[in-house]
Subunit: 357 residues, 2 copies
Amino acid sequence: MGALRRKLARAGLSGLLVTHLPDVRYLCGFTGSSAALAVTRRSARMFTDGRYTTQAAAEVKAAQVEIVGRGPAISAVQWMAAQAGAETAGFDPARTTVAELTRLKEALPARLRRTFLTPVPAPLVETLRLVKDEDELRILREAALMGCRLFDHMLGFLRPGLMEVEVAAELEHQARLMGAEGMSFDTIVASGPRSALPHGRATAARLPRRGFLTLDFGIIHEGYCSDMTRTVYLGTAKPKERQAYEAVLAAQESAVAAVTAGVKCGEVDEAARAVLRDAGLADAFTHSTGHGVGLEIHEAPRVGAGQATRLQAGMVVTIEPGIYLEGEFGIRIEDMVAVTRHGGQVLTPSPKALIEL
Amino acid sequence: MGALRRKLARAGLSGLLVTHLPDVRYLCGFTGSSAALAVTRRSARMFTDGRYTTQAAAEVKAAQVEIVGRGPAISAVQWMAAQAGAETAGFDPARTTVAELTRLKEALPARLRRTFLTPVPAPLVETLRLVKDEDELRILREAALMGCRLFDHMLGFLRPGLMEVEVAAELEHQARLMGAEGMSFDTIVASGPRSALPHGRATAARLPRRGFLTLDFGIIHEGYCSDMTRTVYLGTAKPKERQAYEAVLAAQESAVAAVTAGVKCGEVDEAARAVLRDAGLADAFTHSTGHGVGLEIHEAPRVGAGQATRLQAGMVVTIEPGIYLEGEFGIRIEDMVAVTRHGGQVLTPSPKALIEL
């Protein structure tokens, strides 16, 4: 909260309305599904509804709690407006809908309606969340290692003839038994020609006797997300398939090696893209190289072409180039990487050389 | 699309920007995670990115597909603005952020910037989605019955000493093996005093020898969500606990009996609330009676106090009163109910009399 208050003072705001739930959790620890947090220069108050009375009392730190009957955001704004000397409160225009802003303004006293709510130019809380502290890094490391243990378990489970959904079921079941709070996104299990779908959720398709299998999955541990992808081969890969795999792996390792504090995200993306371009696979790499990961599975920074944001020590990003050849196959390899002053630290050290099962 | 085009004509709009993904799926079948659909009075075009080339070609019906490098919503708005005679396009202010609206306006030619994008007064697509057609009802019925089979399976699995997360793991594993695409929300397993948390996700807590256990879960089947809750008792319930259970059950059955086309949602809520009031439990019922369910786990209508929306045949709502006594226990019973002209049809016919395990 201290760092946020300094940002408020610098921006000349009396307070800030925080409605994005991962931001609320980050600032005060509340994990419920309905809440708004009002942060002023002197105090902070979180508003939620009667379903969360007990949970809020147990979880919320560094803010008072008020249980309200109507929308928590309206209550938060009215509370800030009622503070002595309150003139303006920031809101995040990227997290506030046009309809919600109208409702919030209508709930204010007439004299404040036009001037009180001010869009903040950059998302103040998400900017704080970019750089993880030691405690967050510990949790992300644990989450990532749980992912590696899951992948290791799956290597002993995979065999031709299984349905993709059976693979997802086994993976998610093991994740729960390991203590995961849940999955951080729909598990991707894409086999044979379906591996050419970058986001192929598990279906009733059966694993082939011969072909690629992409597993892209993540678990939630103490609220933080893991994310990793490995592509394995069922049977013995053909020379063209092995070549393609080696190209993706070289691209992935090149981007991992480019990660260090001070480097632009676009340069990391280019490190992967250049390798695939040289291999004649530029057109088959149809997405960005990676993204930040933390309380949300996708958060800033974006590691994409031309991105000027510079990596800072404490950021955690994914590095996940892939190629997709429609009707043939696809390959993606993804690690979570923590940025340090002396390079990138891979948090998902599962093997990456081609595994033939 | 026909019904939507009639709404567009009635509202005097040249077109509509659809960015909420369940709305996109509803209108054209696309299930990817990045898309915008532009619907004009004569045609429709869906914009997505290169990750979804193959998937969009396979899934999208009733719209052309265009793969774009930049934001799909910007492309959709620019495409509509370039149509001959295009003057205005509606957008849903409840699904468009303040920041996104600014970006969309900036992407328009100067002469259209002020006038082209118009907030629609009511969410046009969500209004269409309120009433389910025969095909949707079939899918929701199947999804609900999968939920009932899961509950039946769990009755044979539950025993004191299991961790709540083990219960969630078993339930989710079975769901996958049954062919569920995923869970429609984080599975709630709340045992003993934790049952007093209305939204108690599964933790490492162990099921007690004696006490309530609330299971609230849903699966996704062909894109549609199921949702049901049962509260069972481990051991033999004390008289006070049994009385409380009977009160919640009476409230739930009273609300189910109130469901029929033409009735106001607030009247259904009151049917449950009145029973709990008579039992002296009004303050312990801290949430609404239910909500619509379909492509999203929470959608319109809201079945809450004072809601004036009238139920129509083809709507599907949950009926889920509950009571929460902090430090003691909680009880919730939830069914999915399809509205017909002749009353409500319960889609989740699992037993509701108190089960003691």
